[in-house]
């Protein structure tokens, strides 16, 4: 599966309650097939896929194509595996935070995966943007201190590689409109609060599955480019 002929190895991780469709969604993404059977994930698993990523020039012109090897971590939603699965959060550069559009409860639990303190989070998000553009030392310190306090509340924030990892919010099972319990406006508002993209997907039809993964990949690749800009390429070799 993994010959070394690629430019980047990128690791993503899907999380969310049991039954929302994480395994089925990833299976659709990697194999373009749908599995209607529910076989709950035991602890942890991962799938792999090779994709081509196109960078964009500053003027919007298409730049260079990179080969990316994706490692897609699939976590168990069941509570009893929680301490095991959160240990793997640090191994991912981006997160697919998933809920089931036909289950209000799975949507409410998204907040637990993020952080309880929405207000501070919104503030944080705008600071993070400032920090990245201006590199202001005071703001960085302030932001780190505050974040330290609230990060214990959020599973994701506490266990990921940094406090503001790239996340995409996903409402899955969009092919079941009759059973829908979460409306789109509600979900969009939450995503906006967190400052993350939102997609309604269906592992059954394939709707938005590729697009949502690609959006996350794009966020990560942009972050990677930014991090390289800050340091000279030549001082590494």
């Amino acid at each position: 599966m993994t010959d070394g002929d690629y430019d980047y190895l990128i690791k993503l991780l899907a999380l969310g309650d049991s039954g929302v469709g994480k395994t089925t969604y990833l299976y659709r993404y990697t194999d373009n097939k749908f599995n209607p059977k529910f076989i709950t994930t035991v602890g942890i698993d991962f799938r792999e896929k090779r994709v081509v990523y196109n960078t964009q020039g500053a003027d919007g012109s298409s730049g260079k194509a990179f080969k990316v090897h994706l490692q897609l971590w699939d976590t168990a939603g069941q509570e009893r595996f929680r301490s095991l699965t959160t240990a793997f959060f640090r191994d991912a550069m981006g997160f697919l935070l998933m809920f089931d559009l036909t289950s209000q409860q799975s949507f409410l639990n998204v907040r637990n995966w993020m952080s309880e303190n929405d207000k501070i989070l919104v503030q944080m998000n705008s600071w993070v943007r400032n920090v990245e553009s201006e590199q202001s030392f005071e703001i960085t310190c302030l932001y780190l201190t505050c974040f330290h306090l609230i990060s214990y509340q959020g599973q994701l924030q506490a266990n990921a590689y940094c406090e503001n990892p790239d996340i995409v919010l996903i409402g899955n099972k969009a092919d079941l409109p009759d059973q829908r319990e979460v409306n789109e406006r509600q979900a969009r508002e939450l995503a906006e609060k967190y400052g993350i993209p939102y997609f309604e997907t269906s592992a059954a039809t394939g709707q938005n599955v590729e697009k949502s993964v690609e959006t996350l990949l794009d966020l990560i690749m942009k972050r990677m480019e930014r991090c390289v800009e800050k340091t000279q390429v030549s001082d590494t070799v």
């Binding site: 993994t2 070394g4 430019d7 980047y8 190895l9 035991v42 602890g43 942890i44 698993d45 991962f46 792999e48 960078t55 964009q56 020039g57 500053a58 003027d59 730049g63 260079k64 990179f66 490692q71 009893r80 301490s83 095991l84 240990a87 793997f88 959060f89 640090r90 191994d91 550069m93 506490a158 266990n159 590689y161 940094c162 990677m224 480019e225 991090c227 390289v228 800009e229 340091t231 390429v233 030549s234 590494t236 070799v237």
Partner: protein, 154 residues
């Protein structure tokens, strides 16, 4: 955040499954390390070639710094690398992803390695946690599943 992971509640079957998954992860990690080492080796080779070239700077006016072929107008014209300022031919250059301009092959490769080795990411992980998830799980399971093969890589 150095809590010890307690996996004693997993059944034997579950523990075996988890063990197999983290072994697969180790394989992938090992291959990735090898790949990056190989790329770094390539860059090393290129840079010694460049040292040679810098003694004869005028050569670069007429010949590509990488393939050492003379430039040919229209067919294989000359362009300057934004990173190292040397001139290279069209075949030996890449579009710079952000700025308008070009990167020579070696500088492009260096950039790929720099981005691909994900120093920024691993720095964060190291700062926050002692070991990565798979290693943590192996540690907690290894007493229980003897002979599963493979040990924690450094």
């Amino acid at each position: 955040m150095g809590k010890k992971l307690d996996l004693s509640k997993l059944t034997d079957e579950e523990a075996k499954h988890v063990w197999a998954v983290v072994q697969r992860d180790f394989d992938l990690r090992r291959k990735e390390e090898e790949r990056l080492e190989e790329l770094k080796g390539k860059i090393q080779k290129e840079s010694s070639k460049r040292e040679l070239l810098s003694d004869t700077a005028h050569l670069n006016e007429t010949h590509c710094a990488r393939c050492l072929q003379p430039y040919r107008i229209l067919v294989n014209s000359r362009r300057q690398c934004l990173e190292c300022s040397l001139f290279v031919c069209k075949n030996c250059s890449h579009v710079h992803p952000e700025e308008q301009g070009w990167l020579c092959d070696p500088c492009h490769l260096a950039r790929v390695v720099k981005i691909g080795s994900l120093e920024w990411y691993y720095q964060h992980v190291r700062a926050r946690f002692k070991r990565f998830g798979s290693a943590k799980v192996i540690r907690s399971l290894s007493g229980r599943l003897q002979g599963g093969g493979g040990s924690e890589p450094s």
